[in-house]
Each structure stands twice: as C-alpha cells, then as structure tokens.
Symmetry: C2
Subunit: 663 residues, 2 copies
C-alpha cells in the first residue's frame, strides 16, 4: 500500500467526521481529524473483527475512550461494513439515530462500550482484558486458542488526567495484562487550552512506574504506529502504552492545534478551507470508491477469521465436550438453574448479618456457576466476598478472587468490562458509603445494562464506631434515582438468598445488594409471609385481619423494628400492616393492581422507617404520612447507641404510630 | 535528646493508642503503632502550631490522611496540650465524644480536616497548599512573611491506590506546591493482606513523574525522618514525598506486619505481650511524666510563635493598612457587603442561560470579593467560571483562575482544602452529571461544613446532543439527599444572582448552583413574584385569586413551562398556583406556617414538573399528586426534540393538569 493511498483513506475518515459534525451543527471534529491516521492503521492492519457478526466472542475489542470523538468510530464502523449506514452518519446526534453524541454500547453496530465520561473507556478495557485472561485460562488447550484477542483503545489527555486511569493502570500493570494495547493521542490540547496549563506530568515515566511497556511515536506516521503495535503485541507480560504525538484538527488551516476545534464544528468556511488544504473535493460525505473497497475488505477478512475459529471450535467440542458444554452455559450466563444450591436459613440458626448470609450464599453457589467471579476493594473480610475454595486471580489458573485494591472507581469499570464479555457475571464489594467513589462506573453499568452485581455492605449507621465518614445517609435515595440500577435491601438471610437469585436472573441490568454489618434475626416465615415475595420488590410481610388502619413501610434491618411494632400494636388491638419495601425498582415494575393491593390508595395512615435519608420514602407515605429516618450525618458510637440517638427504634416507631392513629 | 528518650515518647504514642482502641473494643491500632516514630519526629521537631489557639492562621497544617489511625492523632493532640483530654481519649469512638472513629474537622481540638475515606486527606492538603500560596502572594511583603507554613500529611498505601491521589499529585506537581511535605507510611499491608496482592507500582518513580521531590527513609529512624523533612523543606519548588518504610503493629510480638492488626484491637492478651515486648508498664493509658512535659513544650513554643507573628502583624498593619484591612475582611469571609455589585437582569435583555448569568455575576463581583476564586475541571468556557480580569493561578501573583484539569474528584477536595483556610471562598465548575466523579469530595464538603460553591451546569437533557452519558437524571434527587449540602436550581438570571448571594452568605455549608446550558427568558417580576423569594427555597411565583384548585411545582428551566401553563389554564378559568421549588433545603428550613401557606395541606391536587428523576418531587405532591419527569436515561438529540420526547412540555403539563382537575 503506498503512502498516498494511506493518506486518501485517512482523509476520508477526517472529512466524513468533519462533515457529520458540521451537519449536526454540534460535536467534536478535532479528535477524529487528529487521530485518523492511527485509527486507520489499527483498523486496517490489525483489528480482528467480523463486521457482519460483531458478537463473535474472540474478536479484538476496540474502545474509543476519548468518546467525544465518536464520529471517528462511526466512520470506521461504516467504512468497514458494520451496521452503521451513511444515513446513520448523516443523522449524527439526532433523535433515535444509531450515532449518538458519545458512543453508547450497541454491539449490533459494533460499539463495544459506552464512553464519554473520561477515563471510563480506559478502565473498562482493563475489565475486558481480565475477562480475556480468565476465559483463556479456562478454555484454551494446546492447539486450541479459543480465546485470544487484544483490547485496543484510543485515549486522550483527559482520560489520563482522571484518577480512574491511575487505578486502572496500576491494576493492569500489577496483573501484567499484556493483551491491552492503548494508543494515547498526545495532542497537547484540552478544552481550557494547552495541556501546559495544568497537565505536565511525565506520562511515559508514570506508566513505566506502573509496569507498562511504553513507546513513543508520531501519530500521523502509519509505519511508526504499525511497528509500535507489533512491538506491543510481542510484549505479552505487560500492558502497552503507545504515546502518539497527534495534532487536533489536523488539516484545518486556522484551527489545527487549538482548543477551538475540540468541541465545535469547523464552520462551513473553515471546513471548505480544510478540504482545499487536504486536496479534498468540496462535496459532502464523500467516500472515494477505492477507499471504501479497501476498508470493506474487513467484511471478507472478518468472515473468514470467524469461520476458521468456528472450525477450530468444532474440533474443540469433540475433544473437550465438557468444556464446550460449559462454554454454552456461560454464553447464556445461566445462574439460576441451580436453585437447589442456594442455602436457606432457619430462625433457630440464630441472628446473622445479611453480609454474612451473602458470603455463605456466594460460597454455596460458586461451584455451580463458573462464570460468577469477583472480589472487593480491599474489604474482602468485611464484604464477605471471598470464595474459599478458589485461588486468587492472577496467582494461578482459575483464580476467581480479585483484589481490586483500594480502588473502588476502577473496580466498577473492571466489572463492566468483564460483564461486556457476555460470558461472565462479575461482582464487586465495598462499603455502601464508598459507592461515592465509583458512582460514575455504576452509572455506566446501568447505562450499558451490564450484568454486574454490587455487594454493598455496612449499609447504615448500624456500622457503628467508624462514624459519619463511613455511614451512608442519602445513598439509598440516591441509588434509587439511578435509572436501570436494580437495588435490593433484604431484611434477613433468606431474603438475601432470594435477592442473589434475582440479581443473577436480571441479565439486562446491574443489581446492588445492600447489606448490613450488624446481625439480624432470621424472620420466622411460618408466622410471616414468604421471603420469596421480595421478588416483587415490596410485599405484605405481616397483616391484620380486615382492613388495616395503618401501614408501616420498612426496608432491610428496619423491617425487624416494624415487625416488633406490629406485634406490640396488634396486641393492643390496632389493625396494622407491615410492608417490606426491599426494592423500589422491582416494586415499580409490578402491576397497578398488585401495588394497589399492597398499598391501597385509600389507606393514608402510613409511616415509613429506614435508617437513611427520609426523602425517597415520601413517595409511599404521601402528604399525610410520616417517615422515621436520618436527615443529618451520623455519629461515631456503638450501633445500639446510634439507633437510639437517631430514633431508629421500635419504641419510637410505636409512639409515632400511636400519634398518627390519634391524629 | 537521646535515642532512649525518643523511644519512650514514641512508645507512649503507641500504647496510648492501643489502649484506647482496646477500651473501645473497636478501631485501628496497627497504624498508630507503626507510624508513631515519624509522627513524633514531625510533631516535636517541626510542626509549628499553638495548642492553645488552633485557629492561628499561620500554623502548619497536619493531616492524618490515613484517618483510620485516628488514635495517633488524638494521642498527639492530647500530649501536645490541645483540647483533647485524657477523658476524651478514654471515650474513643463513644457517643458525643471528641474522638470519633475517624478524624472529623474540629479546629477547636486541632483537627484540621475530616479523613477516613482514603485519598481525601491527601487531596485536601493540596487545597491547603493552594490557599497558602494564594494568601502568601496576596499578603507577604519584604520582611513580612505573614503566610508561610507547611502542609504535612501522613498517608498510606490506600491513599495512594485511590485515583484521587493521582489527580492531586499531578496537580500539585504541575503547580510546584513546595509547601507540601507528605510522609507515606509504606507498611506493605492492606486489609486484604500484603500489598503485593495488588499494589506493586513503583511509587517513587510515579511521584517523580509528577514532578515531586522523593526520598526514602526508615520510618522508625528519628534521625533519618528528621533529615528528610529538612531536605523537603529546602525544596521549595516541588511538593515532597518521603517514602518511609514502617511496620504496622510495631511492637506486637504476634501481629506486627500483619493485616490482623489493621482494623481490630490487639486483644488483652496481645496488648499485654506487646507492652512486655516494648518494656512498657502494664497499666492502662500510662503517660510517663517526663514524656508529657516533653510533648507539652509545644504549648509555650506555640504561644511564643503566635505572639511573634502577632507582633509582626502589628507592624505590618501600620505599614500596609489597606492589606491589613483586606485581611480582616477575608477572615470574616464577607461576600455580601457588596449587594450593589450583583447585576440584575430585565426581560428585555433577552433570554440567557443561567450558566451565562452566573458567569456575568461572577465577573461583576470578583473585584469586590478578593477571597472568591476558583475555576473548572477543564470546562471553563462551558461553565462560565473564568474571571476575565484576573490571571491564571500559578502564572503570576494574584492568579485566581484555576485550571483543575479533567480532575473533578480532586477539584472538590482542593476546594475543601482552600475553604478550610477560613479566609477563602472557592468555587469549582463542571457538568452536573460529573458530580458522579467528585461525590466523595462533595460529601466531605458537606460533612466538614466547608464554604465551597459548586457551579454545576448542563443540568438536564436540555444540554441536548451530547447524549445520555452527559445528561444528569437522578442527580437532583441524589444531591437533595446529601445532608448539609445546599442546592439551588434558579429559574432565570435574577434568581441566579440571588442564589449566588445565598451561596456566599451560607458560611457553614457548601452550596451547589444547578444551572442550565440552554437559554431561558428573564421572568417579568412586575407580573410575577420577586426573585429574591428564592431565599425561601420554595415560593409562590404566580397565583390565582382565591383558593387554588391545583398547584404546579417546578424548579429551574421547568418553571417557565409552569408559567406558560398557568397563563393558559388561567385564561380557561382554572384557579392555579405556581410554586417555584428552587431549593428543597432552604424550603425545609422555613417555618411550618410558611410552608403551609405555600403548599396548603388541604390542596391535594398537585403536579410537579422537573427534567430529572421523579423520585424527590413526590415529597411535595403526595399520593394523589402527579410528577412529570424522566425516570430513564436521556438521549442524544437537539434539546427541543428531547423535551418533546420526554414530555417536558407545556402541552403535556396542561394536559395532565386538566386530567387531574377532571379526576
């Protein structure tokens, strides 16, 4: 291939992107224009993918971590024959289009993951590399490299400034994830202006300190980029960082190397000048036929690559039928064929923290769900996330226990990357309050519908002495307002078991399990309703005969206070109902009739109790209702003192119920 | 001082801490035992502080970033004569004590800032160093070093694993904050076990890559630590990192260098063995008198140091009366003596985004409030945070514009550190959705009552084409559930001006200003109620004659839809009221009578409209009410298309009002 033809292909990427941004009158042309050469090199000379089946499990992954440059990705996908048409390109950033402002996970179109919040793509790739390693260790046999692919990314200075890039790089370097090959587009420009304003660290030294293989190249030189990628592939024991000097807005006579071209269209006039400067025809959305046919070679090449892999897998199936069967199971991510392995708990077993129940459940089911794996952000003994019968990830084959380190933010992103394999169900644990550190990753879980399970323990002031810094207050309310994030706060060990089943069954979204530090009795299900009802999110746990005069609503540990109050008030002759509202989102997915039965609209005497901020519970108690909760920060003291201080007690609940019934 | 006496002092710190943890039967003895030697060295040989006046502005700052080792700090404060008594030590982690599980900002007792969520202390210190530099540039004159102090911290591997430490170190290195001297306690142990499990990066190389001055010492060697601190002080152009090899649980025969001593008491038996091993008397809370009198020299020394400073300041006042006057103003943090400088806006000025109004306001008041300073996380042109007439921080004297970089998390922490000077009112801007990145810092703002102003723009799907990754949905609800965080979402330019005044006046808490990307008309205040009423949080903006049949509740940009609906429905003869609910927290601080007037309990026809998750508005509409909002993620399209798609329109509001009135 000669240099001029390379340039023609590269300019096609540049101008297609710039035209689309101009038509949308919104977007980021500078990055696609600056990074087109390295993207071209990677996509035409290295990337293993099948445009006609973007779901092929052994494809290479490509992440545009600098997601604002989305038009570069859409241009690449269109040109290589993925399911992004020219019409889609022309509809860039319009309602209902397949080409939104920032890339959103859409594997049918070849978009591997959602990027845009900077650093997230960088970090998600680490999770993909973890999945690659785990699956390769599980399935590969001599002569059968069933799983063997690279994870490529293009990232920006913004990605590297974000803290999550540090966590991700430190983790990837420690575990020697050699399949990671990242291209850093070093264009020296950020939105505020030159990166010299605030970002002058030595990126190469920094990444070497993390145990990465580092190279520097001219990002516009196809040969240099290609040879660096080859070197990176050779280095199998370290992740690779290729620092590529690029020029934002390359080709624009007046805007290249300026922040003005970062986040705004070039403008018709400058777009014209740019085309003239690059020797490009002035017409819009022009793709030279020879360029299209060159990029489109990816279709045949990809088809052939997948077919060869399928052939290999056919032989593998014969030789390793058990593993092939496991492969099939994992592709379906079945986690609940094994209901019998979920433990059940009796009141006579004695009180048990829901975090401890969760740990027992995990260890009961782990043997039967080889695609379930995870760990904790350096709180394994507290989060009860450790699988006793399995080794550490990275230490030996089949390692399923992850030491994410005190790195909550990247833990979330790694879980996302693992889940995007569509063969693994990853979990990660930390204290509930530290979701503050990984909210951005959790939001990406929800936005991409990643099948991730968050194990969030120490869920209230009930954690006691560690004090306000460690006590979640608004976190339940906060998480309930995150679309597509399932949240379950079980009231005892048996509900925890059902919650785990729900979390495994909901394959289209993440699920947060909110668990106590403190021990809770196992509810006597002969006396009260079945634990399996928490599948409905909210259910009638205890009820009076006839129509209740008042409904007590509670979740998690406070359900026990509600039950105690129920017993005392019933003994006094009051007609009381207890509704266990373990999950707002599951409850809201029930029928209107079901909800009207649980919380009849005409019963307005309602009181909620929850050891967290009161805000969200008002939804269910209404204007005439009452909420017992905590609207200030917590305090440092033994749990029982704190519950008393904040009025999270049966006595207070009974008193407030009586007041309401009198009122 | 001889080595044996040093050891006696160090062991006092160790055993006082271990005794307190044992008595509380909860806490972290390992860190105080491991880090006592370097803490002793720093506190007795270097730290400039006045135990009898911890508020002295020119004191050195000490941050225990590894906040779980809080007993080390309490021991130091007690021994040096701060307002922490032996009784307080014995009440460690008990209700109402001054010695909570993790240090909480309490300057009366000498506790500089809240730590515990790892990385936060490390990052807050950078903000303190920024404040030191800014104030020194402002006030120091030849012969008058009014502001000249160090910021010391002890941090742990956990601090360095957190992403925020990267952002903080990269920022501090770039700006050459030479007053930062951090001691890293390299004890090779985290909760999960050896740091070799997941944390093997080369910390020294990493920090050198950030432009830090790096040294390595034996953390138990007083001379080595002292000489490293002296070297660090000499290096005035770079922050300093002293990597000190320490041993967690030092002195414990069976638990030293193990994770078992990290977060649990030693146990009576091991505590006894430790005391024997260290040659320590078995009695509890023992402080040798000669040790106490040695530490207590800090009282006289501190008093003298502050007196000398006061003498100097007296002369300074004479020589630089204007600057001394400015000092006095800044110590009071007065921001609203200047009401006349706040711009007001007329409907005829045309529509204006509240973010643009905010930028105009900032630039109007900046000259009059020299203690107001800040910037953006690389979104200055979008957040409108730039002060046109002032230079960049770091570029020359008086620089007030900060380029935080794409580093939201540390931006929040830096703002906290600056605010803790009690002389500055810092602000920081980013897109509202990216509060996900800095929530932990924002929570620390709220927990410490730091006077920080967050400028959060692009507050809904109204930002348009950037799409779901950039569109906040649950963020209003989420932030409303954070205790002590004030949040105001103004509806037009004039309300933005009042909101800024409120933010400046509320000196005991942070305030988040939630601003639009899109333009909004300036509300005609001759026709509707005064903008100043948003001081009440919620107020009657438009009202019918007589008792309303329905109340429309809205905030921010949706207030305009409510007003349009009001006009249309009023013209049809409906009795409608519009309540502008700009701030839940300000509203909730009003009297019951006020609230019953704005939202009379007997008017149950209520409908809220807000371009965000519906959850929080249920609090004000009740069971019979209706909320128009967005409970899914957004989409990428021009704003007007999105508002239509999600039903955030006057038409939809009018329709739903009519339905309710019929119902």
């Amino acid at each position: 291939m000669n240099k001029r033809f390379d340039e023609l292909c590269i300019n096609t990427l540049r101008m297609l992107s710039a035209d689309a941004v101009q038509k949308a009158n919104s977007g980021h042309p500078g990055m696609p224009m600056g990074d087109a050469a390295m993207a071209y090199t990677l996509w035409t000379k290295f990337l293993k993918h099948n445009p006609k089946n973007p779901h092929w499990h052994n494809r290479d992954r490509f992440i545009l971590s600098a997601g604002h440059g989305s038009m570069l990705l859409y241009s690449l996908l269109h040109l290589t024959g993925h399911n992004i048409s020219m019409k889609d390109i022309k509809n860039f950033r319009q309602l209902g289009s397949k080409t939104p402002g920032h890339p959103e996970h859409d594997l049918d179109s070849g978009i591997e993951t959602t990027t845009g919040p900077l650093g997230q793509g960088f970090a998600t790739g680490v999770g993909m590399a973890v999945a690659e390693k785990y699956l390769a260790e599980m399935f590969n046999k001599p002569g059968f490299s069933i799983i063997d692919h690279y994870i490529y990314a293009i990232c920006s200075d913004g990605d590297l400034m974000e803290g999550i890039s540090h966590e991700a790089a430190s983790f990837a370097g420690h575990f020697g994830l050699g399949k990671l090959i990242y291209l850093y587009s070093d264009n020296k420009i950020s939105i505020d202006g030159s990166t010299d304003l605030t970002f002058t660290e030595n990126v190469a030294s920094r990444f070497r300190a993390y145990n990465w293989h580092v190279q520097k190249v001219d990002g516009n030189d196809v040969q240099e980029v290609a040879s660096a990628i080859r070197e990176a592939q050779k280095e199998s024991g370290k992740p690779s960082m290729i620092i590529a000097r690029t020029h934002i807005g390359y080709g624009s006579p007046n805007k290249h190397d300026t922040s003005g071209v970062h986040g705004s269209p070039l403008g018709e006039e400058e777009l014209k000048l740019t085309k003239e400067n690059l020797g490009w025809p002035l017409k819009k959305f022009y793709v030279p036929p020879e360029v299209l046919s060159h990029f489109r070679k990816a279709v045949d090449k990809g088809k052939k690559a997948e077919e060869q892999w399928k052939e290999k897998f056919k032989k593998y199936r014969k030789k390793y039928p058990k593993l092939a069967k496991q492969w099939n199971m994992m592709v379906k991510r079945n986690g609940t064929d094994h209901k019998k392995y979920f433990p059940s708990f009796k009141p006579s077993d004695g009180p048990l923290a829901t975090r401890s129940a969760s740990g027992k459940i995990l260890n009961s089911i782990a043997d039967h769900i080889p695609h379930l794996l995870g760990g904790s952000a350096d709180l394994a003994p507290s989060n009860n996330t450790y699988l006793k019968d399995y080794p550490e990830f990275g230490s030996k084959k089949g390692g399923r226990n992850f030491h994410f380190g005190v790195r909550e933010h990247v833990m979330g992103a790694i879980l996302n990357g693992m889940a995007l394999s569509n063969m693994l169900i990853p979990y990660g644990g930390t204290f509930f309050v530290f979701t503050d550190y990984m909210r951005s990753s959790m939001r990406i879980s929800a936005l991409t519908g990643a099948h991730v399970i968050y194990i969030l323990t120490h869920d209230s002031v009930g954690l006691g002495e560690d004090g306000p810094t460690h006590q979640p207050i608004g976190h339940l309310t906060s998480m309930r307002a995150m679309p597509n994030m399932s949240l379950i706060r079980p009231a005892d060990a048996n509900e925890t078991s059902v919650a785990w089943q729900v979390a495994l069954e909901q394959k289209d979204r993440p699920c947060s399990l909110i668990l106590t530090r403190q021990k809770l009795p196992v509810i006597d299900r002969k006396k009260y309703a079945s634990a399996s009802l928490i599948r409905k999110g909210g259910y009638i746990l205890a009820d009076c005969k006839g129509k209740p005069r008042i409904i007590i609503i509670a979740s998690g540990s406070e359900v026990h206070l509600a039950l105690e109050a129920f017993e005392r008030l019933s003994a006094e002759g009051h007609r009381v109902r207890v509704v266990n509202m373990a999950s707002f989102d599951l409850y809201e997915r029930q029928s209107g009739a079901y909800k009207d039965n649980v919380l009849p609209p005409d019963i307005e005497n309602r009181i909620a109790i929850e050891a967290g901020h009161t805000l969200s519970m008002y939804k269910y108690v209404g204007l005439k209702g009452d909420v017992i909760g905590i609207d200030s920060f917590g305090a440092s003291a033994p749990a029982k003192d704190l519950f008393k201080k904040f009025g999270i007690t049966t006595d207070n609940l009974v008193r407030r119920v009586r007041t309401m019934l009198k009122g």
